[in-house]
Symmetry: C2
Subunit: 224 residues, 2 copies
DNA sequence: CACAAAACAAGAGCAGTGCTCACTATTGTT
DNA sequence: AACAATAGTGAGCACTGCTCTTGTTTTGTG
């Protein structure tokens, strides 16, 4: 009852090796350093041969992107298992971004031009962390006092603006009220913005030793 | 007493044309669509000739980045002249990002690989908007009640984390206290994170008509 | 076991990139 | 008119993604 022939095994092994090499290339030289020709070279094979395994460079990119999303989600989940809090989530993201800056850029930086990630392939892994944050915020918010007192001047505009997000969450089986969604969005964009700023050097130099403290202070300032 | 010879005039004109073409190429095809060979083609000249005007593709990129920083800063300044408020700043950034998404990506997205923007060339234009935000926040914060009551458990850690930012501001002649810097950072990363998310499609589809409302709601939620 | 079918690999080739180098026009100044 | 600075040429190198044709190897099946 062996349902994997040696051929299939070899194929899977080669595919795994390609993504391994691809990940290493992204880690070393960024997304622009990802070259199928170089992969072929490293595999000891002629360039056209790798097209047996991946349809195009973009397809390999999709694989790497999905991998990266999954990897950071696993790490965040692990961190939350030990300390279920917003700082824990943010700091584990920051930590991952420090270890894999180019993979971070791959998923949270400028999208690769002319390349649209197939939503069905990446939406679920790509939203795991944000979903986790939503649930965290939902737990922390006391259900009764849902709508906050101030800034209730234009509720419909805000509610409408949050529409697409709410729908996205519903598709994933999450049912959060607008206050939670709003809060989640705020915290989320702040975290992503902060880590991007640090990773991309937009705040200038000198942050290397204080990154975690900065993120901690940010979360505190957000009141989360 | 003409201090510009026709030759110099021609040179400047050509340089201006190159950056014009370069900007257009970035607008149309993103940073990867920027090709010196294509620029040469459009100039009706052989490819190596453009190297008389720009030392390398990276140098042209630096020019375009400086341009983009300057352009968005001008627009923000104009918006603030009419309505001096944080939403005004954020919404004018958002608006600019919608009109020039690829230029936005150029300055606030993933940095171009292997390319380090010469700080001296880009630091001043690159920080104008953030400086404007700092001053806005400083004006709004009542000087006496500087340090906010809560989250004063670890003041030195936060102060130290904000150190590099404070130094950067001092170099630009700005002298803000830590509470203002902290608040500025929070609002800044939230704005950048939100616009990036919208521009890069990280929130999924369906936001086109509600982007401004979303940013407004975000600023409101931040209490700015 | 023999054989067709499927999978894999090779190698040449196309169109494009950044960049360099030696060489020739063109232009402005002495 | 002679000379030097500047502008432009065209060939060439090393690289990219990707395709197509040819040959080889492995595999499942009659």
């Amino acid at each position: 009852m062996e349902n994997t022939t040696p051929r299939q095994r070899a194929r899977l092994e080669t595919e795994a090796q390609i993504t391994r090499i691809g990940n290493r290339m992204v880690d070393e030289d960024g997304v622009d350093g990802l070259s199928l020709r170089a992969v072929a070279r490293e595999l000891g094979v002629v360039s056209s041969a790798v097209y047996r395994y991946v349809k195009s460079r973009d397809e390999l990119l999709t694989i790497l992107i999905r991998d990266a999303f999954t990897q950071i989600a696993e790490e965040v989940d692990a961190a939350l298992a030990e300390d279920r809090s917003v700082p824990s989530l943010a700091l584990s993201m920051l930590d991952w971004s420090r270890r894999y800056p180019n993979r971070w850029a791959l998923i949270y930086g400028t999208p690769v031009p002319d390349y649209e990630a197939p939503r069905q392939e990446t939406v679920v892994p790509g939203t795991r962390v944000m979903v986790a944050l939503t649930q965290l915020i939902a737990e922390a918010s006391t259900p009764p006092m849902a709508t906050s007192a101030p800034s209730s001047a234009e509720p419909s505009r805000t509610a409408q603006a949050l529409g697409p997000l709410r729908e996205g969450l519903e598709e994933l089986g999450i049912d959060a009220d607008d206050a939670v969604i709003m809060r989640t969005l705020t915290v989320w964009v702040a975290i992503i913005g902060a880590v991007n700023g640090l990773r991309f050097g937009q705040f200038g130099p000198g942050f290397d030793d204080v990154e975690a403290d900065l993120v901690r202070a940010l979360i505190a300032d957000l009141g989360a």
